[in-house]
Amino acid sequence: MDTNTTAHHGNRKVMNRFDVTQRLVARLHKNEAVIGGIGNTNFDLWMAGQRPQNFYMLGSMGLACPIALGVALAQPGRGVVALEGDGSLLMQLSCLATIGTLKPKNLLILVMDNACYQITGSQPTATASNVDLVGVARASGLESSHWAADEPSFEHLVERCLAEPGPHLIAVRIDGKSATGSTERDPVAIRQRFMRGISTAA
């Protein structure tokens, strides 16, 4: 079932979260920190390989980008990636205003837009009708905000965004599938592993 067919999506290909996450992880060569948002984004990040530089958010819906911003401010020499669902980003949309104002060079936001709140029953989000999150991000001061047209376009965008000063945002249309597994749920272990993972030079 694909309800992800609104005008602002044009001919963009509908991709898959796990596949796209694997393609991202394969392009992380500098111990970049990755913050997985609530539910599916952190589950598929976990399934794509448990890098010590990954942080898995078990609650706090909408805070993947703020957490990533905090890491980016504390470690300006390290690339930081936030993985967020469209529903989660819509909940904390104003974080784009903060990021667009501070303009951290080392931050990349990756939005997995399935046009619904998949994990709670696939109720449609506002991106299913008229909201274009790339447009919102651009208007918030993230000039380098892009839709990925297909998988090769996604890979090219990731490589460019990791190499050039940001902040950047890449949005991907994805299908309505759930994640391929789930994360171990021990918050203290997650934090300690992450802190060790980003304690050495990037």
């Binding site: 958010m57 990533a68 905090g70």
Partner: protein, 176 residues
């Protein structure tokens, strides 16, 4: 303590943050906090930023802590009322030394019923989450309480709330 007593509360608090190696100051504005916010912005060694929501500030400070930068969230009572979910699902279970400075509205001469109601929700939430909380009413106790509480938060990896009473700050009063 005499020297401390002659300095205003915001100067004392800023000095305590500095001596405890706080390098990030996030806030959502509050009238009473204005002098503290100003001194933070004027300090070139402190990264001071305004967040759009207190929850967002909590996320930023959490990420910064994990990246090696200690930070604080300064907010008003009504701002605190927006963060219980983020406290309960992020700061507390992940054991983050989240430093919270709350300017207390809603008591000791409050003129807005909404603020008074919001204020009543704050301490029960902090108690329910088992968060170390101190209400600071006296200038001569400010340095000791703030300094020791921040040290404890860092050493025990736990959030702490420092509530600044109108007895300390003067609060916000109605002027007709």
């Amino acid at each position: 303590m005499d020297a401390a007593a002659s300095r205003p509360w915001h100067v004392v608090l800023h000095a305590v943050l500095k001596s405890n190696k706080v390098r990030l100051f996030t806030y959502v504005p509050d009238r009473v906090l204005t002098p503290l916010i100003k001194i933070a912005h004027d300090d070139p060694d402190l990264l001071t930023l305004v967040a759009t929501r207190e929850e967002e500030a909590l996320g930023i400070v959490t990420g910064a802590y994990m990246g090696g930068m200690l930070g604080v969230v300064a907010m008003q009572t009504s701002g605190f009322a927006t963060i219980p979910n983020a406290l309960a699902s992020l700061a507390v279970p992940y054991q983050i030394p989240l430093l919270m400075i709350v300017s207390e509205r809603g008591t000791l001469g409050e003129f807005n019923l909404g603020q008074a109601m919001v204020c009543r929700t704050m301490r029960p939430v902090l108690d329910a989450l088992g968060i170390e909380t101190h209400t600071i009413t006296r200038l001569d106790e400010l340095e000791f309480i703030a300094d020791r509480s921040i040290q404890q938060a860092v050493m025990t990896q736990a959030p702490v709330a420092l509530i600044l009473s109108p007895l300390l700050t003067g609060g916000k009063v109605f002027r007709s």
